[in-house]
Symmetry: C2
């Protein structure tokens, strides 16, 4: 009796060529994070439930993979933020602040299985954590990281939307609606989906006065360039400290985002984004690929007042963004947007067609020494089967070496994409020269 | 009430500078795997218990992290070989053979916690899987992968020990001890630890005849160079097909390992290594750092007859090796062998000491575009604190930019290791030139 080999629903497992493309995206994200000087972090996937769930509750808690091993109550991490909180609180004395870290790793949520939703998925996070305080200019640096990533992934038409939660909160406070703010945010967050009229209707159900609804609608309908929006926010003349502070912060961020090299066409102030309902306290970000708006935000995050309050008395404000890579890759695939710039691991396949493998093997070693990923086909097959292998693996160059080639010390190198064949000397430098010129 | 932030025993969690060193080793291993044309694979950490444990039993099964979520019986992977088996059986029709894959990922074993033993640890595996058959020359390629990795990690004095299980099995068969072979192997495997006399004594307890014990001792005491050992094995005149086949394979491997560029001083035939007791069926490998023999084998593996017999009728022979990276890193650390060639992520820290950050930020962007990992210190601190930050993060170069520097368009770049300071023009190319020359 054989066991049927199968993979759990909601767990991504790719074929090699898809995995190569996935890894390239992952590497590009990681390289950009490193380019901005973020430090690597790798925390355990399993944590004590008591530690991991110090803050959690509600929906999140239901989705946790939680179990006991021996006597110990364990959980799998469901994001990379809680492990970061734990890590910073635990290692506070050994870290330098601002602590800039990136982490790319798998997290686990037992969501209801459906197409495009994963229970195991990669998150790619960066956060900047301050000790006691963190200058607002840090909030302006993150959009430039996002910008560089999506440019590097080959996109041009995307928008990083920026807002500040204090503006929303201050507005609601000024209307005497502080208690309703969560509910109001939830409603106006849906304006793209349900439209203006439905939003007004839902707001009315909260027993808001008409003047208040008008003010809210006036607010969320502010249009124009980022600068125009900032001016209109000023002109609303809302006399509330939180509002004023949020507006001031947003101005600072907008001004500096440009300094950080993000073109005006790739970011804008978007007053309706709120990013969840209680975690973020200042700047918030969402990023949209404008030609594929339907896939939602591809990179989100924001500023929070206090990273690790469940673990420490130290005040640790921070700002961060996250990319949900597994879902993003799924979406890219659905939209045929995955275009790896290298489709194979090997740059060249050496196909020996002779008994004595000495020369082909030495050639392979020499190519590798010069930085070329080189595979040598070591199994006894017909030439046709060997070429088919190169073709299926999308290896760009193939060189067949038989007795004749050894004797003449030349061989034909074949560009598998164009079919072009060129005779080269049988040494690593000649081959590399040909590959580079092609 | 704060929750104490803590990490489970047996789970490695590193400080940033250690993590940088860890990642460098991981990257070197991965790059070498890619250089030999192995394809990447990433399988889920959670699998159906029925699938993952199709083969397991005994000790392994006790260590599994196994739990239910909803109605589903789940387990965390305890190695990367079983997931590979499942993957190849499941995707057989979509793979090209020989299927060469690498996988670097975390695995889980609930071992008794002790110093240097981890419950979550990285394995770095490569395997070559044949469809029906796999030429013996593949067994000769893997030592060259191992060789390149440990050279790349800065080691010179290491030995890849090679043996073939068929030689041992054939020997025992010829002595009529096939049934005892597992037991005999277990005993002779201990010769390094317990010595010759104790081995003889333990063998006697198995009711072996003196002539048989003599033959076994004659066998395991064969010394000399690899070639001499092969000759002595020949001269033992053991008339057994398995033995002869194993000897023939071992000869092939030894001959070709040299072709693949492994110097004679870095490998040898070692007739007593057996690598576990039933998984491997032919070639077996262990690798020792000769100056640190006490840490045991740092890279092991071998040939197996049939990868996925629990999932499919297809015969899938393979050969592979694995590096237990987490434990290896721990051991390197204990021995002070971790010497990262880059100790920080950032190549340079820009320290602005002025209000208008425009120039410093643009300089940072330009440096990044030219491939330099560049961090800009964005928080309002005293110069001394900013320099201390660079020092703690071991960032090799620092450039301080104040009003004077902006006005003169020059600044001093400081080599933090030597203390050397040089005045450079305030542009990315001048700075890179200085860094490259230093």
């Amino acid at each position: 009796m054989k066991t049927e080999p199968r993979t759990l629903a909601g767990f991504m497992e790719l074929l090699p060529d898809e995995q190569i493309a996935f890894n390239q995206i992952k590497e590009k994200i990681e390289n950009t994070y490193k380019k901005f000087g973020f430090l690597p972090l790798d925390t355990p996937i399993i944590e004590l439930s008591e530690v991991l769930l110090a803050k959690a509750g509600g929906e999140t808690e239901k989705q946790i993979y939680r179990f006991t091993k021996g006597e110990t109550d364990l959980s799998l991490r469901f994001d990379l933020t809680v492990p970061l909180s734990k890590y910073v609180a635990k290692n506070y004395g050994n870290l330098s602040f601002p602590f800039r870290r990136y982490q790319i790793g798998k997290v686990y949520r037992g969501e209801r299985a459906q197409k495009g939703r994963y229970r195991e998925f990669y998150q790619c996070d960066i956060d900047i954590i301050g000790d006691g305080e963190l200058d607002i200019i840090n909030d302006a640096e993150l959009p430039s990281v996002i910008y560089n990533i999506f440019k590097d992934l080959g996109f041009d038409n995307f928008t990083i939307c920026i807002n500040n939660r204090k503006i929303l909160n201050g507005l609601f406070e000024s209307l005497g609606q502080k208690e309703n703010s969560t509910e109001i945010l939830r409603i106006i967050d849906k304006i793209d989906k349900i439209g203006k009229e439905a939003v007004i209707e839902e707001l009315s159900k909260l027993n808001l006065q008409k003047t208040n609804i008008d003010k809210i609608m006036e607010f969320i309908e502010i249009t124009g360039t980022s600068d125009e929006k900032l001016e209109k926010l000023e002109n609303l003349e809302i006399n509330n400290e939180t509002y004023k502070q949020g507006l001031e912060e947003l101005k600072q961020v907008v001004k500096n985002v440009i300094l950080f090299g993000v073109p005006e066409k790739n970011f804008k102030v978007e007053l309706t984004i709120a990013r969840g309902l209680d975690y973020y306290t200042g700047t918030v970000y969402e990023t949209f690929l404008n030609d594929y708006r339907e896939i939602g935000s591809v990179c989100s995050g924001g500023r929070y007042e206090n990273l690790a309050e469940y673990y420490t008395d130290k005040k640790l404000p921070g700002v961060g963004v996250s990319i949900g890579l597994t879902r993003l890759f799924y979406q890219f695939n659905e939209l045929n947007l995955v275009s790896a710039n290298k489709k194979s691991i090997s740059d060249i396949l050496i196909i020996p067609m002779l008994e004595n493998l000495e020369k082909p093997i030495i050639l392979a070693s020499n190519l590798r020494k010069l930085g070329v990923n080189t595979e040598i086909f070591l199994n006894d097959k017909k030439l046709k089967a060997k070429l088919k292998y190169a073709d299926k693996l999308k290896i760009p160059y193939v060189i067949v070496i038989g007795e004749d080639e050894i004797n003449s010390n030349t061989a034909k190198i074949k560009n598998m994409e164009t079919g072009e064949e060129i005779e080269v000397e049988l040494d690593a430098n000649s081959i590399i020269k040909f590959i580079k010129e092609a």
